[in-house]
Symmetry: C2
Subunit: 485 residues, 2 copies
């Protein structure tokens, strides 16, 4: 058989296995009785091992070699280009390093869980040190032309991002945001809005229905840590969470919708190829942040959301809802941070993980560095490591290079939103009526359609005419900081 | 590595892939938005192909050869014995025949769907003929020592069953049941009981809770065709269906519970081996039928069920409920048949599929043969092929040899029930109080524990001291036939 055909079949198989992994993970977090945990770990393990074997087989190298001289159409050329890139990267990782990392990540997560529960950083330090060491080794295996190990770790989530560029962006952002945060510090904003869960539930369903979430192709369920699963192009599963104490569900459901919409609007020709999913973590996060920050947190859409809450039995003024959804207050915990200070949490993590990987920060000095960073960037005192450097699972799980995408998502969302409004005109009137069709169409055309054919930076350039830039985000947060409470 | 170790790892992998297949199928039937169908077909296809490849690899033959001379413990000897049997069977099937069958089955199901909708047997005949021909070829590839192709088709579902034995059993049963059915023909039993769906829902949940269905290890959902999925030893997913017009949900949920309980009570040492699931279709069906016929349809347990219905707001006399759950009336459609006439539907399908596979019945003559058989066995006139030989999907899907398990399940359940009562004493008093602990323990010890270490007939012999026998079932149905309405 034709090597292109074989390569495409293998990519289709890997796409199917990836979808099954996502299904099994979704089920685990949403449907599975707790008794299923042990069996599920085995099932996911078997799937991961099989997928790894099929993704790294020598036969792929033979097909790629045969395809070097082939005449290919545009799409096939992209398929082969990305396949070669990934296969070559995987071949540079020794099998025993891969196995050792996967053990260390599993053990690291357990160690982190115990350490956080007991506020015991010292108990976690050896596992973290092992993870840092293995991540550095991993990055070094992939390093070419002096890119450095951290850049290669980034590349696992965001191919083509450069450490130097992130340093520069985050340093500028880290200088610009704290004064804005300081400015609102004097306010004591009202951030709680006690909307009963059943009211939120109705409002969320109806709001999602407005933006196109139908029963034929979507599900909405509850999960303790909201996420989205795309099991098939027309099988998107959003999750959110409800609490009587706040209206996070309104933001979180639209955030997840952004992830889901991205995957659904990719060119159907890319389905079951290696290009048929979102191109990177930062672009994915930009899609969720666009719906969370620029739609759900806009004053115009607050009228729609308030209308839905009122329809479900909780009347309130749109301006009050908007104030609640955009209240700013520097705080300790990343996942509950406001839209202005959120990137500061990420900048801190970026600085620290980069320093650990590059050997400039010893693991044992992490708590002190965290404490200083929180003081410098957010002006808050860290009362304990559990609420400090132990709050996130990522490093315990060996994920280095992942954090930046959270802040990049905020930046890219703002940049895309400006580009879109400069092309389509202000979205305010449309949003007031809950009309999001043109937004969806613009995103489809400029971002979603390409799948993985364009990496992060080329995609941003094509959609906005510029490289990544912090100014649009600063323009987005300025009014939040300036506003009186 | 040790060949035993390798074999066990492969079996564990196949068990994990099997569980993922079950999860993906459960999700498809219970949770998936309809838009996910196309992607799911690809995912299940990829999984099936991978599992087939891993189950038939040449390396397995090498491990088995190395193990021929090994000293093994009892459990390992069974693992190797069953692995060898399955691997050798799979090697006798040419790859192109396997592929051709899988295409023919997919196309046959589509053809069947159209034909049933249009009551058009002639439209289905070519697909059926192809399926019959391929099934015969398949059986012939496996045939050794003159067993005949049908027996090998049976072996796919029930290893060790002999065609001659089934002929004999079903012929005796086909002679004994029609006079009993005739006897109740004069009655006009009241079979409908319009219990509102929400009442049934509560009663079903509470009844299942009584028999041990907790939230930690079980789920209960709704499916158009109830089934059970065992994703892990402590992750069992029952389904049932509700209708305002009848109380089928009470029977169906306990039926599915029987399937689920079987898989949960297998020796934990067999988990992730090739022995860690129910041994055959007929034993599986015997477990569901035992809970459906001998528990849910018993006069004693009717008191529990009536109590649960009353607790949910629908008071009725236990005797009335029992009469409804056991009313007998010969009818056209297998899936809604009563407990007495149900096996007659199966006997007809067995006779016809055996005759088709053995070339004694031409596909084109099937409708006439069906018509005659329904008249002879059930005394009913068949008004259309849609309500006749087109009613079941099995032959369209290429499943020959599967039907007998439905009747065998009824027989084996009755036989096990008698053996259990002769050991434990009558269950009546316990059932009246909803106490099923001793039943579960007896089934665990005599049936479930063995997984696939014992095939159908040896298992029945061990549990009951006899081979398969129709008398217990006849003793079970006699009072149903004799009863005045």
């Amino acid at each position: 058989m034709d090597p292109l055909q074989r390569l495409r079949e293998r990519m289709a198989e890997l796409a199917d296995l990836g979808a099954l992994d996502m299904l099994a993970t979704w089920d685990q977090l949403v449907m599975m009785p707790s008794g299923g945990a042990e069996a599920r770990a085995n099932q996911l393990g078997a799937l991961a091992q099989l997928a790894h074997e099929r993704a790294t087989g020598e036969e792929i190298g033979e097909w790629l070699a045969a395809l070097e001289v082939a005449q290919l159409g545009d799409l096939d050329r992209d398929i082969v280009r990305v396949a070669r890139r990934e296969w070559e990267r995987s071949c540079r990782i020794p099998a025993d390093l891969a196995a050792e990392r996967s053990r260390a990540h599993a053990e690291g997560q357990e160690s982190w869980r115990r350490a956080r529960a007991n506020d015991d950083f010292a108990g976690f330090a050896p596992a973290l040190e092992r993870n840092v060491g293995l991540a550095r080794q991993y990055g070094e295996c992939l390093t070419q032309c002096g890119t450095g190990p951290y850049q290669e770790l980034l590349a696992e989530y965001d191919f083509g991002l450069e450490t130097a560029m992130l340093r520069e962006l985050f340093s500028a952002l880290g200088a610009a945001l704290p004064p804005l945060a300081e400015q609102v510090r004097a306010h004591s904003p009202r951030r709680q809005l006690a909307v009963p869960v059943d009211v939120q539930h109705t409002a969320v369903r109806n709001t999602l229905r407005r933006v196109g979430v139908d029963q034929q192709g979507w599900r909405l369920d509850v999960a303790p840590h909201p996420f989205t699963a795309w099991i098939g192009r027309s099988d998107t599963r959003l999750t959110t969470r409800y609490s009587d104490g706040n209206v996070e569900s309104l933001l979180s459901s639209l955030h997840e919708y952004g992830h889901g919409l991205y995957e659904r609007q990719i060119d159907p020709a890319l389905v079951r190829t290696n290009l048929g999913r979102g191109t990177s973590m930062s672009i994915h996060e930009s899609q969720s942040k666009l719906w969370e920050n620029h739609v759900a947190r806009s004053p115009a859409f607050a009228e729609v959301l308030a209308g839905e809450l009122e329809g479900a039995g909780f009347p309130l003024a749109p301006a009050d809802l908007h104030a609640t959804l955009t209240a700013v207050e520097p705080s300790l915990i990343r996942v509950s941070a406001d839209p202005l200070t959120y990137p500061l949490h990420i900048i801190l993590r970026f600085e620290l993980e980069l320093a650990m990987i590059e050997g400039e920060l010893a693991v044992i000095d992490l708590p002190a560095a965290w404490h200083d960073g929180m003081q410098r960037l957010l002006g808050v005192e860290v009362p304990s490591d559990a609420q400090g450097c132990l709050q996130d699972i990522h490093w315990g799980a060996g994920s280095f290079g992942y954090f930046p995408s959270y802040a990049l998502g905020c930046l890219i969302a703002a940049q895309l939103w400006e580009a879109m409004e400069s092309e389509l005109g202000p979205r305010e009137e449309d949003l007031r009526r809950g009309e999001v069709g043109p937004i969806k169409a613009w995103l489809a055309e400029h971002v979603h359609w390409y799948g993985r054919r364009l990496d992060t930076i080329p995609l941003i350039r094509q959609a906005t005419g510029r490289s990544l830039d912090i100014e649009p985000f600063l323009r987005y947060v300025a009014p939040l900081a300036a506003r009186t409470p």
